[in-house]
């Protein structure tokens, strides 16, 4: 009897093993988010319909520790088949563990925007972006009106932005801008926002290649602007110990600050603010830069734009072809439409229909994306540079270091991260 039980168990495992091998595991930080539920449900249904007997297993991972867990799993060859990642430094740090997708998804890739955030040093695409991420400024129209400003005419130049902040400074409260730099994230946003017109297209390319340095005039000007805006009272007190996610944006919604450097997708974006503050109470504008480069037009600031999040395939996956198809489905226009409608994320696939979304903010943003998209400077920095910029930005904010000292420290890190 005992032998029979053992044999039955072995037989069950043998029979089950092909099915187990047909399970594709996806790690993602948004699986437990109710707003994403429809998107994942449709992705899972589409995948399992296309591959009878196969299962798409979507596993939620904690946001704060995601890259630590993922790094540990990849190092021990225990990572998932499909890997979710943020575009930029985090995605680029992972390319060694992924397969290039250029030859795997040739029909899908031409329809995508924001690929540079997911492109490896060899020029190949390692993640398929599903959303676009960009940086704009959201503002509280009621507070503008109360400060004697025209809520329908947001600033389009640094001089106009300075006048706006002078008006709020004269009032005392609220702050002109919300500031949350405890993790250094606000400094990241500021870098890209301020660089959007300060750098020429060539300088943006040089930055990506590590040929434009932190101590070079265009970047140094941005560091100085970071110091000057703090010194000139643009931000609320205590910004260096203020957490960005989600405290800063909640405080903005409560009217603690009149402007906030926000995002296009996921969180702190048009949908969140329009839902929580009212469609007619919140406005949006691309942030002007302190200087205007030769190939830019004064009064028409750009929107730093790149791939937001995307999916890649673990090179150690036992089912690479199936994993690739899971990525294809997760990034397909039909499935992505649920993500866009439910979460307000801006899609990276140009075939996703957004015409059904009735939002004045999104309409403006989509218009700018078509004509004014510029590279996201901080996403084209290495992880080490960003980490050092977090440190230096906090010290600059307090006046504990100088722009020259900060730029020198950052140059050193850049030279190591992007050797020439």
């Amino acid at each position: 009897m005992q032998k029979l039980k053992i044999l039955t168990a072995i037989a069950t495992m043998v029979v089950a093993s092909p099915a187990l091998a047909q399970e594709i595991t996806v790690w993602d930080v948004n699986v437990d988010d109710a707003a994403h539920a429809t998107y994942y449900d449709h992705a899972k249904a589409a995948f399992e319909a296309a591959h009878p007997g196969a299962t798409l297993n979507l596993l939620s991972q904690p946001d704060a520790e995601y890259y630590t867990l993922l790094g540990t799993a990849l190092a021990s060859k225990a990572g998932p088949d499909v890997i979710w990642a943020n575009g930029g430094a985090q995605a680029k740090a992972l390319v060694g563990g992924l397969i290039p997708l250029d030859d795997k998804l040739p029909d899908l890739i031409p329809k995508l925007v924001g690929k540079s955030a997911f492109t490896g040093p060899d020029g190949k695409l390692y993640f398929i972006p599903t959303t676009l991420q960009g940086h704009v400024v959201y503002y509280n129209k009621a507070l503008y009106k109360a400060a004697g400003l025209d809520p329908e005419k947001p600033p389009t130049s640094w001089a106009e932005l300075t006048k706006v902040c002078d008006a709020f400074k004269a009032q005392g409260k609220p702050a002109c801008f919300m500031m949350a730099n405890k993790e250094g994230y606000n400094a990241e946003f500021f870098l890209s926002e301020a660089a959007n017109q300060s750098l020429t297209a060539q300088q943006q390319a040089d930055w990506l290649a590590g040929k434009l340095h932190w101590s070079d005039p265009p970047i140094k000007t941005i560091l100085q602007a970071w110091v000057d805006t703090a010194k000139n009272g643009w931000y609320q007190e205590g910004g260096n110990s203020q957490t960005m996610f989600m405290d800063e944006f909640a405080l903005f919604e409560q009217g603690v600050g009149a402007n906030v450097m926000g995002l296009l997708s996921n969180v702190a974006h048009w949908k969140q603010f329009e839902t929580n503050m009212g469609v007619d109470k919140v406005g949006v504008y691309p942030m002007p830069s302190p200087t205007v480069a030769a190939d830019q037009h004064e009064g028409a600031p750009g929107v730093p734009l790149d791939g937001g999040v995307g999916y890649g395939v673990n090179k150690d996956s036992a089912n690479i072809d199936l994993a690739v198809d899971a990525v294809r489905i997760l990034a397909s226009p039909e499935v992505l439409s649920y993500l866009v409608n439910d979460t307000g994320s801006v899609p990276a696939n140009t075939e996703v229909n957004t015409s059904g979304i009735d939002s004045p903010g999104l309409k403006q943003i989509m218009g700018w994306l078509a004509t004014r998209a510029v590279p996201t400077t901080h996403a084209n920095s290495s992880a080490a540079e960003l980490d050092e910029w977090h440190h230096q930005s906090q010290l600059l904010f307090n006046g504990e270091t100088t722009v020259d000292q900060a730029a020198t420290a950052l140059d050193k890190v850049q030279a190591e991260a992007k050797p020439q």
Binding site: A93, L98, G184, E237, S241, H391, Q392
Partner: protein
């Protein structure tokens, strides 16, 4: 010997093997996605040239200088409770309460209390004192973090010292009192010498705790900042792996921390034991 085998196996598998494994990784250029190559002492040499590592070590020195405070406060409170102050049971419970809270909860509470618009600055405002960004300035962030760590851990120290005080000879104390010794003389000449083994134990445990158990609090309170003002070696280990994808460098810093803690603990035991024999 057979009964010891499970414990020995557990220590070997979960302590000794990872230690040697980590040391092995620290000699390579491994990343999360690449096993890398053998580079010998490369990561250790890199640490010497890393301003963040130097800052973490400088902060570790500040942390170590605070050890006497971490030991003295619970010892004095335990002696006061032991003297039979009114409400001692209540005080003992209150003192111990923070020790049962997780560092994340404590960090979250104090993030609110110490924020610029938080409770502490509100109280100072009532007294006409302008607010301070306690966690946002290099001058205040580390001392404040250490004060919170002290508040959250001294309850355990009080219990340890109370246990030690229960072994102090009542006859000796009574004899000293009959000889006309004042209270502070009884403390200094009778009670504290009797507590020497407890002081030794508390000093070693506190040192190890401060060097290896502050991550949670720092992560929530300051994220190692501003700049690197609250970055200690264990936080740097996390940052190297979790933020910069440098597990081999993280392993090297881990080994430095391991040896530093081991040597310090050994020195403390030797010094305190030698003094005990004088």
């Amino acid at each position: 010997m057979l009964f010891l085998l499970p414990a020995i196996l557990l220590v070997l598998v979960f302590r000794i093997f990872p230690l040697f494994w980590g040391f092995g990784i620290s000699l390579t250029s491994a990343t999360s996605t690449d096993p890398g190559q053998f580079i010998g002492a490369g990561n250790y040499l890199r640490a010497l040239d890393d301003p963040n590592f130097r800052s973490a070590m400088a902060n570790a020195v500040v942390v170590l200088l605070s050890v006497p405070i971490f030991v003295t406060i619970p010892m004095l409170l335990a002696i006061l409770i032991h003297q039979g102050v009114p409400g001692r049971t209540f005080f003992r419970s209150v003192y111990f309460f923070p020790a049962i809270l997780s560092s994340v909860i404590i960090g979250s509470i104090f993030s609110v209390v110490l924020s610029f618009n938080g409770n502490l600055n509100a109280l100072l405002g009532i007294a006409g004192i302008s607010g301070v960004d306690w966690l946002g300035h290099s001058a205040t962030a580390l001392p404040v973090t250490l004060a919170i760590q002290c508040w959250s851990t001294f309850g355990m120290g009080v219990l340890i010292f109370l246990a030690g005080l229960s072994t102090v000879s009542k006859e000796m104390v009574e004899a000293a009192r009959l000889d006309g010794a004042k209270m502070w003389q009884i403390w200094w000449h009778v009670i504290i010498p009797e507590l020497r083994p407890i002081i030794e134990f508390s000093t070693v445990i506190t040192t190890i705790g401060l060097l290896t158990s502050m991550f949670g609090l720092i992560y929530v309170l300051t994220g190692g900042g501003p700049g690197t003002a609250t970055t200690v070696p264990e936080y740097l280990i996390w940052a190297a792996q979790g933020k910069l994808n440098r597990p081999a460098y993280a392993a090297a810093v881990s080994m430095v921390l391991f040896f530093m803690t081991s040597i310090l603990a050994w020195l403390q035991i030797r010094i305190l034991s030698r003094n005990a024999n004088i």
